[in-house]
Assembly symmetry: C2
């Protein structure tokens, strides 16, 4: 392509976007906004990825409205970027080619709760906290808990989110039963029934979960719920080594204890927590645990776990039963993001994650800590250790090109190492823009299959372009 | 298309198949067979679907050989039908357009067992019994248990099989971590790493699981394993009504007991079992149960379950701990297929399945029993009741067109009713040829999405044509 044709196509692209937006403004009135602050807000990122704002933001109320927007966008080949709560970490909501951000915050209705089936149907903009508030009095809860931020169910489905208790209850992959989505051709698809299992045709639910808005725009989500356990017990214990902590977790999984949460925090993270939360934990690899069950089975889990941990040299095993005690015990884990930032005020905490088979986890964590030392960066580690999934949060002075460069080397080694260890470049954050460069190394010829699917389902490439798949052949 | 062009294309199709087979015969020698008995054996069905044999059967040893066959088949546009153990129930292995059946029975090696990760990698022709024999001494087991027949892992992945303990351990959808598959263009794809979770790109694993050989040919399967529970307890109890049995199951799920198996057998099935297994069970809806856990937690489950069941009027609650006692107690459940046939010797037992949300299960079962009475057929019912999935086995005199017609009406009402109740036309058997006609009713516009995916991944329609998707637009 020569520069002049490129310029023409860019100009005509700008023109087309302008036309599409003026059509949509007539239709949506004040629910379409083009102010810079609003646009930048809808493209914020929590990494060094540049903020790439859309041309306009539309607040939608119904699936039918999404369909209307898709039809206009398709006619003018204008990108659409779905926006939930904007808590994703890899540039998912950026608009590198401009276009229209669809904000789902008004689609926040819980449509059905089927108590006897332990499922519910919600609009894509319902947040997980709102859903849990809604079902709590029925003795139910929604298990997927990606952390500090209150993400929407639509966004969580789109990024295949998980979190602290995925080891027992599964990720969005296991918890989404069905989706309603608007496809690039304007058709509205319901991907599955509410049946717990089905062998009827291709699994469109799982294809859309984790597709990050690039194959279809999720407007409704049907998810599993669980009964709130009769008994919840929390515990913390300290190990002399990362291996000992990992061995404990592996043995408890082999025994089928079904521990609900197993979180590993490294020495540096504990130092941060001690400073931030005014605690006096020993600065050693530490497991934060939660056990769910009946009164009898939860206590049985604790006893069995404690026996395994003790044989691996665990110390300071404390556990809590009452809700306020559990909260206090786990507060340190929940405050990890803020504790991390407090380790080095004025810097950005760049969250990244990888996931490896649990047999390689200790080795991977130690190699990562060695990298951190070698590169001279500060990066505490916290992991959903039962899944082999862990997070690093390099604290970077964004004014220092050297530090940014060191962090880039670090992240790149981290992802390469995870892939080399039969793992994945992201366990739960998604690809977005930030991890596109690792996709070929991880999936090989699978990337071509993904590209064929993307090409046939979105031939004009209007659905969240520039995400997930590497450009070009 | 006129008759003459159709005839010409049929002739050239026959010619092309002949050429492809002669090329493959040169390559595979005696491992390619064209005898009628062998060909018919590879297309056997357990329904009234006609036997439609392939033109040839090739026994493969490696993924590379599968790739060679695909390349030849692609060149000559010849259909390929993957064949595992031939235990599928909806005509999956039929060759309606002729072509080459690929027999995986020689690809029966367990390639890796990763004890600490609780996973393993096997060739597609490994059977679930062979896998369990292989890992038993390591204290591990593979959980998916589709029933009497010993299916291969490749076939089970292809049909998204499940079975009696899916309610606790999941179906093939949850248990397959990764697949190696040969695509229609001859590329070899590994769909995922061994990481327990990933957000890196589209979920090709789940897309291939349940695609019945129509999107790619599965040659290796990576599945989860579980530690053999410390304690397994079995139990049986009798209810006055289907509702009471279903209510018991629903409450135990809401309480999160994690019962491993919950099987409901109806009155007629119990009658058959009494006759076949010389037992004296009360002819009432009956639950067969299995509890897995630590010594403490398995007993706790039994006690909690018994309390719920008793409050729903359960009688004759007997439980067994020793393996031989458990086997005796469950023998009746395992002999269901033979007991059913013994109810009416000389007839065929046509297995079918549907799945509904559990809240609708009792209603669906009762409506089904009413249908059975009204149509004057004999059809016992057994269900994986924890999932809302149940099986009917109409016993049909295949010499009687009237009976076949009545059975067709029955099956069609059964599938339509399940779909109308927010369920699915098949919970675990798959679509094959037999359930294609229900796909549009169940998936609506989703069928068009499936068709686009099929079209782009297999443009010449050589992968198991005539399965899953309805023909035409």
């Amino acid at each position: 392509m020569t520069n002049s044709t490129s310029l023409i196509s860019e100009q005509s692209g700008t023109e087309a976007r302008r036309t599409a937006i003026s059509i949509l403004r007539q239709r949506f009135g004040d629910r379409l906004q083009t102010g810079e602050a609003v646009r930048r807000q809808h493209a914020h990122t929590l990494t060094w990825l540049a903020n790439q704002p859309p041309d306009a933001v539309v607040w939608v109320d119904t699936t039918e409205e999404v369909r209307e927007i898709v039809n206009v966008a398709s006619t003018y080949s204008v990108p659409i970027i779905p926006f939930g709560a904007g808590t994703s970490l890899e540039g998912h909501t950026n608009a590198p080619e401009g276009g229209i951000s669809i904000d789902f915050s008004r689609m926040n209705k819980v449509l059905q709760v089927n108590e006897r089936d332990l499922d519910c149907v919600v609009e894509a903009g319902v947040s997980r906290k709102a859903l849990n508030d809604h079902v709590k009095d029925m003795g139910l809860f929604f298990s997927v808990d990606p952390g500090a931020e209150d993400a929407t169910l639509g966004g969580m489905a789109a990024t295949r989110a998980s979190g602290t208790n995925a080891v027992k209850y599964g990720t969005m992959r296991e918890n989404v039963l069905s989706l309603k989505a608007v496809m690039a051709d304007g058709s509205v698809v319901t991907t599955a029934s509410r049946a717990r299992k089905s062998s009827a045709g291709y699994d469109l639910t799982k294809l859309l979960v984790g597709s990050e808005g690039t194959l279809g725009i999720i407007t409704e989500v049907t998810v599993r719920l669980n009964g709130i356990p009769e008994q919840i017990l929390a515990a913390v214990c300290t190990f002399d080594s990362t291996e000992a902590a990992c061995n404990t977790v592996i043995q408890s999984i082999q025994l089928g204890l079904g521990v609900a949460r197993m979180e590993l925090l490294d020495e540096l993270m504990i130092r941060g927590i001690n400073a931030y939360s005014k605690m006096t934990l020993e600065e050693k690899p530490t497991l934060f645990l939660e056990f769910h069950g009946t009164t009898v089975s939860a206590r049985d889990q604790v006893e069995q776990f404690e026996a395994i941990a003790t044989s691996e040299g665990a110390r300071g095993f404390v556990w809590a039963e009452k809700e306020e005690d559990r909260r206090r015990l786990w507060k340190a884990r929940h405050d990890v993001y803020w504790a991390t930032k407090a380790l080095r005020p004025g810097t950005e905490a760049l969250a990244t994650d990888v996931c490896v088979p649990i047999s390689r986890l200790a080795e991977c964590l130690i190699a990562t800590q060695n990298d951190i030392k070698e590169l001279g960066i500060i990066s505490p580690i916290a992991g959903h250790v039962g899944d082999g999934n862990f997070h690093c949060q390099p604290l970077i002075d964004m004014g220092s090109p050297q530090e940014i460069e060191a962090a880039k080397v670090f992240l790149s080694r981290l992802a390469d190492r995870a892939i080399a260890m039969a793992g994945t470049c992201t366990g739960e954050h998604g690809v977005g823009q930030g991890k596109i460069k690792y996709l070929r190394a991880e999936h090989g010829a699978g990337v071509d299959v993904m590209r064929l699917i993307k090409g046939v389902l979105d031939p004009k490439n209007i659905l969240n372009p520039g995400k997930v798949l590497p450009a070009g052949a």
